[in-house]
């Protein structure tokens, strides 16, 4: 993958969901609002894209689905330079 073109701000992108089915003609279009929490055990993981720092590589965009087919541990934490 090519090194990320550098900019100052790069928000994460997600959820990346399959395209919704085309609306039935005459139906009132439903809200496009994304539900708050989508992740559930026993259900498919929700894909996203974010920029990463990788030791020995540098900055690179990473999609969760890049690792499909492997066991993945996705670990959130409150912040760099925190204590625990």
């Amino acid at each position: 993958m090519p090194e990320l073109k550098e900019g100052c701000v790069k928000p994460a992108r997600g959820p990346i969901l399959p395209a919704p089915p085309p609306p039935v003609s005459g139906a009132i279009p439903s809200s496009q609002e994304v539900p708050m929490m989508l992740a559930k055990v026993g259900k498919e993981a929700i894909d996203f894209e974010a920029t990463a720092f990788i030791e020995g590589v540098g900055f690179q965009p990473v999609k969760l689905s890049d690792y499909k087919g492997k066991w993945i541990v996705l670990c959130f934490y409150p912040g760099d330079f925190t204590f625990v």
């Binding site: 929700i46 499909k68 993945i72 541990v73 934490y77 409150p78 625990v84």
Partner: protein, 132 residues
């Protein structure tokens, strides 16, 4: 175990780089080898139910995802208490065993211990085969 680890916080990739250089590399030789992802904006934390919008950070959540992209386990803690990697490893080994064999693993199972084979013959007889 052949597992990919992805770490994610709301810090930018720049902060991740400096944290690795200034601190993590002094705790882990060569620094942490896994990608450190930036959830700037908290969108990913929101869909995974771990984003604290008052504090603007992702709290301690971890998810085990299998090769079919199905979430098998999640654990979420408020920030004050750190995690137990041994339990994470135990759960991954148990899920990998289940996937490979179709057997199920009782409470606290470690590799090598007895597993259970669900079926009519086992109903009411777990006590005979599993003695914790």
């Amino acid at each position: 175990m052949d597992v990919v680890v992805l770490a994610m916080s709301t810090d930018s990739r720049f902060v991740h780089k400096i944290w690795q250089e200034q601190e993590l590399s002094k705790m882990v030789e060569g620094g942490v080898p896994f990608p450190m992802l930036s959830d700037a904006g908290g969108k990913v934390g929101t869909i995974y139910g771990v984003y604290d919008d008052a504090a603007g950070v992702d709290i301690r959540g971890r998810f085990i995802i299998d090769p079919d992209f199905v979430i098998r386990a999640m654990e979420v803690l408020t920030p004050e208490v750190g995690r137990n990697p041994a339990e994470l490893v135990r759960q991954i080994k148990a899920f990998q065993h289940v996937r490979a064999t179709g057997e199920v693993t009782p409470s606290g199972w470690e590799p090598g211990q007895v597993t259970l084979k669900p079926g009519p013959a086992l109903v009411g007889r777990v006590w005979e085969v599993w003695k914790p």
